[in-house]
């Protein structure tokens, strides 16, 4: 588990001021499972700090993304979600529930690297490759099923 000191160091290490709001947002992303939305994060923080503004949460998220402390995860829906795990990884998207699970596999990454090494794409320089693995969990991970 990531403790407060590490979070503090992550933030200051990027040359950012360490504010309670930034600490709380980053901590929330690490603690909340399932790639939280801005709203999930806001709700979570408000339990301890009812005064945090939603504008602040969005601003902090933007700052953290800009400084590569978190990444945005795009979904079919119109809400953005956030991920505090930075090592290259892929996502399992369940078509029935809104759970997004991380998928790491070094062999797969090697396979892809080798493939694109042999099959360069004309006029394009690859920086990274992310798989969207779409399907269904057999046993769902959370309650919020749709419709």
């Amino acid at each position: 588990m990531i403790d407060r000191l590490k979070i503090r160091n992550l933030i200051s290490g990027k040359g950012l001021k360490v504010t309670p709001q930034r600490m709380r947002v980053l901590e929330a992303i690490y603690l909340l499972d399932n790639h939280p939305t801005a709203e999930n994060i806001l709700e979570y923080i408000r339990r301890n700090d009812p005064n945090i503004g939603y504008g602040t949460v969005y601003k902090v998220l933007e700052t953290l993304v800009e400084h590569n402390l978190i990444v945005k995860v795009k979904t079919e829906k119109d809400v953005m979600r956030y991920d505090g795990i930075l090592e290259n990884h892929h996502h399992l998207y369940c078509k029935q529930c809104d759970y997004i699970e991380d998928y790491h596999n070094e062999k797969l990454d090697k396979l892809l690297t080798d493939f694109f090494h042999e099959n360069e794409i004309d006029n394009f320089i690859i920086e990274d490759i992310k798989l969207s693995i779409n399907g269904n969990f057999i046993i769902h991970k959370n309650k919020q099923h749709e419709s």
Copy 2:
């Protein structure tokens, strides 16, 4: 190129009423390059049919997606984009411009199928896999660079 008769057949083939609005939206998606947004489509159609409503375009898009005539393409931004190509394919996302290019490669798809056949994911049934290949075009495809 897809002609009007084919478009008509695609729509009626799904048991949908063939309306001028549906014809125009689907035609626009085939004609407009680069995975248009709802707004791109609306603008395009308004050149010939200034009376089409934006609500209508969204409604038609929703219907076409529901009936598998087009698919939604998610991006980092908060606008949804649409794609009329249905065979499995992947996307090149340029980090500098908003051009999204299709990438087809059967060998790659075979590689992935084989990989996940040998490496099943616990508790998850895969339906399809899409790669987001992120990087940069060496020569950009369109003008709308960001900031």
